[in-house]
């Protein structure tokens, strides 16, 4: 499977989905007007990965900002990961937030309460 590598912009995050390593990363700002357009290829890619995943997949989410329209798309990404986890594969989500950013921590906790995948909340101390 070809990895996904997308450079970040002012409104869209940097994405690195490496199926060989089983490490997926979304980083930066996710505030596009049309978030479905951005996330659909990622969700489709995960659909394919889900057919033959590695025994362990690590997901690093390190967002500075995300809008509500992205929040639904990010949930779609997590739902794919949940399916991988449900099929008896190890999946770990690392949710990064800056030390004074309670809103970002709460956002991670929202997902943790909806998605049945182990989450680790990691504070970034500058």
């Amino acid at each position: 499977m070809e990895p996904i590598i997308i450079e970040g912009t002012a409104k869209t995050p940097t994405v690195k989905f490496d199926s060989a390593e089983g490490v997926f990363e979304i980083k930066g700002r996710s505030i596009p007007e049309n978030s479905v357009e951005f996330y659909k290829p990622l969700v489709d890619w995960l659909d394919t990965y889900k057919e033959s995943p590695l025994t362990k997949t690590v997901v690093n989410i390190r967002l500075e900002y995300f809008n509500t329209s992205s929040s639904k798309c990010i949930l779609d990404v997590f739902k794919k990961l949940e399916a991988i986890h449900k099929a008896k594969n190890e999946v770990e989500v690392n949710w990064y937030y800056e030390e004074d950013d309670e809103d970002m921590l709460e956002a991670g906790e929202d997902y943790e309460s909806i998605i049945r995948v182990p989450f680790k909340m990691i504070e970034i101390v500058e």
């Binding site: 002012a10 479905v36 900002y65 929040s71 639904k72 949930l75 800056e98």
Partner: protein, 183 residues
């Protein structure tokens, strides 16, 4: 014109107004507004916590305009805008006020007002639960909105959504949303 939409703002020219915009709300305008306000907050060394809240609320307010505004009334003097909106960002003593304005067709007023009233009578905990419920159960609409913008604004600010509808003509009202983001 039945009233001047800018009359709502008595002091637009004061130093407290850090940004004023009236016109078409497209993707480039949104980028420009976000950059301008972010730069100004960095310039005055605003705490990062408040800066992030203001930025988040600004994104949602602008994208609410982008996704949801009704077209302008036929007798409005600016017919060129596909998405006409008005935005004011003001510095106040303990934070910022973000005020948006847009036309709403009379048929859509009740639904919007009901949504705001529901948010305003909810506790912080209820708003959090409402956010999670919508996140998990509602699909992104044909207009591209997630239906979460106002809920998110109320959740992040912890403040009530102040709003007014001013009748423009028999078919349209002008809707002002006044959001306080404070420390």
């Amino acid at each position: 014109m039945s009233f001047n939409i800018e009359n709502y703002f008595s002091d637009l020219t004061t130093a407290n107004t850090i940004l004023y915009y009236k016109g078409n709300v497209d993707s480039d305008v949104i980028n420009h507004v976000l950059d301008t306000v972010e730069d100004k907050m960095v310039e005055v060394k605003e705490q990062s916590k408040l800066r992030k809240k203001v930025y988040n609320v600004l994104v949602e307010s602008l994208q609410n305009l982008y996704h949801h505004v009704d077209k302008v009334p036929g007798d409005f003097d600016d017919q060129t805008c596909e998405r006409f909106g008005l935005l004011v960002v003001k510095k106040v003593s303990d934070g910022y006020r973000i005020i948006t304005g847009n036309f709403v067709h009379v048929e859509n007023i009740e639904k919007l007002e009901e949504k705001i009233k529901r948010i305003n009578r909810s506790s912080h905990e209820e708003i959090k639960e409402l956010y999670k419920f919508i996140l998990n159960h509602q699909r992104i609409s044909a207009k591209g909105g997630g239906g979460l913008g106002l809920v998110d604004i109320a959740r992040k600010t912890g403040n009530k959504l102040e709003y007014t509808f001013k009748a423009y003509n028999s078919h349209y009202s002008f809707f002002y949303l006044d959001i306080l983001v404070n420390e």
